[in-house]
């Protein structure tokens, strides 16, 4: 009862903090939070694949990029397209790419899956460059209209204002995280974990592993697409290096490792750490990669469960210490 109350209190504090952020911070800091929320969603989508299904993707950026380009293209070419439709198109583009590639990807696992995803991501990079009349090539696409959010009975909300977009982005992150969490709690979620632990046994139990993997890949790609789509709307631009560059696939992976695999809060936590590190290193962008590498090596060597594990270790130690202290007081009272 006490724990549950604390949990609700914690969530209430987080929500209150997020709600008041536009009042507390300036536009620049708000933009940082906004960017972090987008990358947290991207990391969570990869986490679904990596932590719950055991599929390590080195090319997850191709789904993020599909979402970003899908949204940018529809907003550039289709007059009067609504905000949610543009995001839907982005997500659908990513799912489509996943489904097209799934016949090849779902039959493999481990290193082969990682390498194949990386190869497909590189093919997508080359394709984007090749079709520069559509994608803008190296120039990218920018300056497309950002439609307002239409909420029935409320009206139009101008999404070109940072504050409005911040609330929208945080809501998308919250909703997507909840859907992904709920997805892992369904019976299908148990199949996901079973595929990770022992795919042969899942086959013996009568489940179609390749089909299940294809569904998981589609769902993960869909959320990566949503993240890419929101990213395109936030930046009001998409560039090939920004969404498909060498580090694009590794950023969510690093966030997951730094934050902690196997949880939903870990990747979000990792993205927060990554954003702070990137901000601290903004004056020295070339050294930023070195610092990131050192942090990643340190986490892998000394904190394999990620930063969230450190938090849990500290809290469990604290609980042990507190219990000892309480027992000592009780003993003292009893003796007196």
């Amino acid at each position: 009862m006490k724990n549950s109350f604390r949990k609700w209190l914690l969530w209430a504090a987080i929500l209150a903090g997020l709600y008041t952020a536009p009042v507390l911070f300036g536009v620049f800091e708000l933009n940082l939070l906004l960017g972090a929320s987008i990358f947290a969603l991207f990391s969570l989508s990869l986490n679904l694949l990596l932590s719950f299904t055991g599929l390590l993707s080195f090319g997850h950026a191709m789904f993020f990029a599909s979402g970003a380009y899908g949204t940018a293209l529809v907003l550039t070419r289709l007059d009067g397209c609504s905000l949610l439709s543009a995001i839907f198109v982005g997500a659908a583009s990513a799912v489509l790419v996943a489904l097209v590639l799934s016949p090849l990807l779902v039959r493999v696992g481990g290193h082969t899956f990682a390498m194949l995803t990386m190869a497909f991501s590189q093919i997508m990079y080359a394709t984007v460059m090749k079709f520069s009349h559509l994608t803008g090539g190296n120039d990218g696409m920018s300056g497309f209209p950002i439609p307002p959010l239409v909420i029935p009975a409320v009206g139009l909300i101008d999404m070109s204002l940072e504050r409005n977009f911040y609330y929208f982005s945080i809501s998308i992150l919250g909703l997507s995280a909840w859907v992904m969490w709920f997805f892992t709690r369904t019976p299908f979620g148990s199949i996901m974990v079973s595929i990770r632990d022992n795919p042969d046994r899942v086959t013996y139990l009568g489940f179609n592993v390749p089909l299940s993997k294809a569904i998981i890949l589609g769902v993960s790609a869909g959320f990566a697409g949503v993240a890419g789509s929101v990213y395109a709307l936030f930046q009001n631009m998409v560039s090939v290096d920004g969404v498909l560059g060498p580090l694009s696939s590794f950023t969510p992976l690093i966030n997951c490792f730094i934050g902690g695999l196997g949880t939903f809060i870990g990747p979000v936590f990792g993205t927060g750490i990554g954003t702070i590190l990137l901000e601290l290193m903004s004056a020295h962008p070339e050294q930023a990669q070195l610092v990131f590498s050192l942090v990643l090596i340190s986490v892998v060597l000394f904190l394999p469960g990620g930063a969230i594990m450190l938090y849990w270790k500290i809290t469990s130690r604290w609980i042990v210490l507190r219990n000892k202290f309480q027992t000592a007081i009780l003993k003292g009272n009893h003796e007196s």
């Binding site: 933009n31 460059m129 190296n138 120039d139 920018s142 560039s239 290096d241 903004s282």
Partner: protein, 442 residues
């Protein structure tokens, strides 16, 4: 007599008053800065003076990391030159105060997303009054958008794509002081019309600037050299390391001249590949005069005949340019670390444009954006190589253009006997190269 004596104090008082007024009139020009007045022997871009307090904050949006970091360092050097000159004269009088200029760097890494983040930091966190830049037309378009969004003056001195200031992309906060792909192409084509060269190969970077330049040169050759033959046209990826496959095609085409929009490091790598392959074909464009590139060429014939087009050249004869050349050369002729001993095309041109910007601010007398816009629109400024005019309709600088082939030995090389410009640059009047205002802009 007594009445004259009585008047005497009044006469003295009147004379003193006149002296005060005259001295007051004298002090006004002293408040205004004069270009090239400082002692440049103490100027070192690597040891910038720390300036804080109530300053004019200028954001320098350039690549300081990645493949084209050298472009950023050059811009920092050039802006630093002008800032050193003005600050050593006490700064600029704006809003009733003498203010020093403070430069804050923003690293684009030549990537649009990184550039946008850097620009947001400059505007929202560092609170710059205005910003200048930038290498890469695909980065400049981000500058255009952000200038309009945050209503900050953006001086574009090195992004040339003609479409950057067309009706679709124009905004009243951006001023382009450099030339355009159309202007450069027309100047080159006009020059070629006076030479026997007729077979051209277009080799440009595959992004907006390269594609625009390719289109512009085809149009310009058609206009000025109707019998010209384009024997090949290729667009290569940015930051290409190996030019050999492209040059093999050039060799097979029988071209007499490569026309290229490439800028460092692509222009350096292209010249190195030409040198290594033992080819004698010259390249024309804007960035094929760089002494840092020439010093690495082993074949004595490589680079000979390269034709450079620019909005400024050090071999242009004007009184101001001669003075500038001398000051610059005296500063760097014995400096082993700096290969650029003469203020070549972009170097001298951009320094002149920075002086123009600060002169406009000085005349506006305020950092108020609207006042700066109204002062700059239609403004005329006497720069090193001639008159610059800021066209009101599209905020595009209008100027004469200059072309010069590279020769060896050249008095404009660092050693005085290496590869460099010919003695005198060829002036092409602005009315030949300038295009009318873009459609939809008045």
């Amino acid at each position: 007599m007594k009445s004259i004596r009585a008047l005497f104090p009044s006469v003295i008082y009147f004379c003193l008053l006149c002296l005060y007024i005259i001295s007051g009139l004298d002090t006004e020009p002293a408040i205004a800065f004069t270009p090239l007045k400082a002692d440049f022997s103490t100027y070192d871009p690597n040891k910038p003076e720390i300036i804080s307090g109530d300053t004019i904050k200028v954001g320098l949006l350039e690549p300081f990391s990645g493949q084209s970091a050298a472009a950023g360092e050059i811009s920092n050097w050039l802006l630093g030159w002008v800032v050193h000159d003005i600050n050593s004269q006490g700064g600029i009088m704006v809003d009733g105060k003498m203010k020093m200029i403070q430069v804050i760097k923003g690293d684009t890494a030549t990537q649009p997303v990184v550039a946008k983040r850097a620009l947001q930091r400059l505007i929202l966190k560092d609170k710059v009054d205005l910003f200048v830049g930038t290498a890469g037309s695909h980065i400049a378009i981000i500058g255009n958008q952000m200038a309009e969004k945050y209503q900050k003056i953006f001086m574009n001195y090195s992004a040339y794509s003609v479409h950057l200031m067309n009706a679709q992309n124009f905004n009243r906060y951006t001023f382009r002081t450099c030339s355009t792909t159309d202007i450069n192409a027309k100047a080159l084509a006009y020059y070629f019309s006076k030479t026997p060269i007729r077979k051209f190969y277009i080799l440009c970077q595959d992004y907006s600037y390269g594609q625009d330049f390719g289109a512009s040169i085809k149009k310009a050759l058609e206009e000025f050299v109707p019998d010209a033959e384009i024997v090949g046209e290729v667009y290569h990826p940015l930051w290409l390391k190996d030019f050999a496959p492209y040059l093999s095609k050039v060799q097979a085409s029988g071209a007499e001249m490569i026309i290229s929009s490439d800028w460092p490091p692509d222009s350096w790598n292209l010249m190195l590949a030409i040198d290594q392959m033992g080819m004698n074909i010259p390249v024309s464009g804007q960035f094929f005069d760089d002494p840092r590139m020439s010093q690495n060429l082993k074949n004595k014939k490589a680079g000979l005949g390269n034709t450079v087009v620019n909005f400024h050249l050090c071999n242009v004869e004007t009184e101001l340019n001669s003075r500038f050349n001398k000051i610059f050369h005296d500063r760097y002729k014995d400096n082993e670390k700096v290969q650029i001993a003469w203020p070549s095309g972009v170097v001298g041109g951009v320094i002149g444009h920075f002086y123009w910007l600060f002169d406009v601010i000085q005349r506006a007398g305020t950092m108020n954006t609207e006042k700066i816009i109204s002062t700059w629109e239609g403004d005329t400024y006497e720069s090193f190589s001639g008159k610059l005019t800021m066209r009101k309709c599209d905020h595009q600088a209008v100027m004469d253009m200059f072309v010069s082939p590279l020769v060896s030995p050249s008095k404009w090389s660092k050693t005085g006997d290496g590869l460099g410009y010919q003695d005198h640059g060829i002036r092409i009047p602005s009315d030949i190269v300038i295009s009318p205002c873009p459609e939809g802009l008045k």
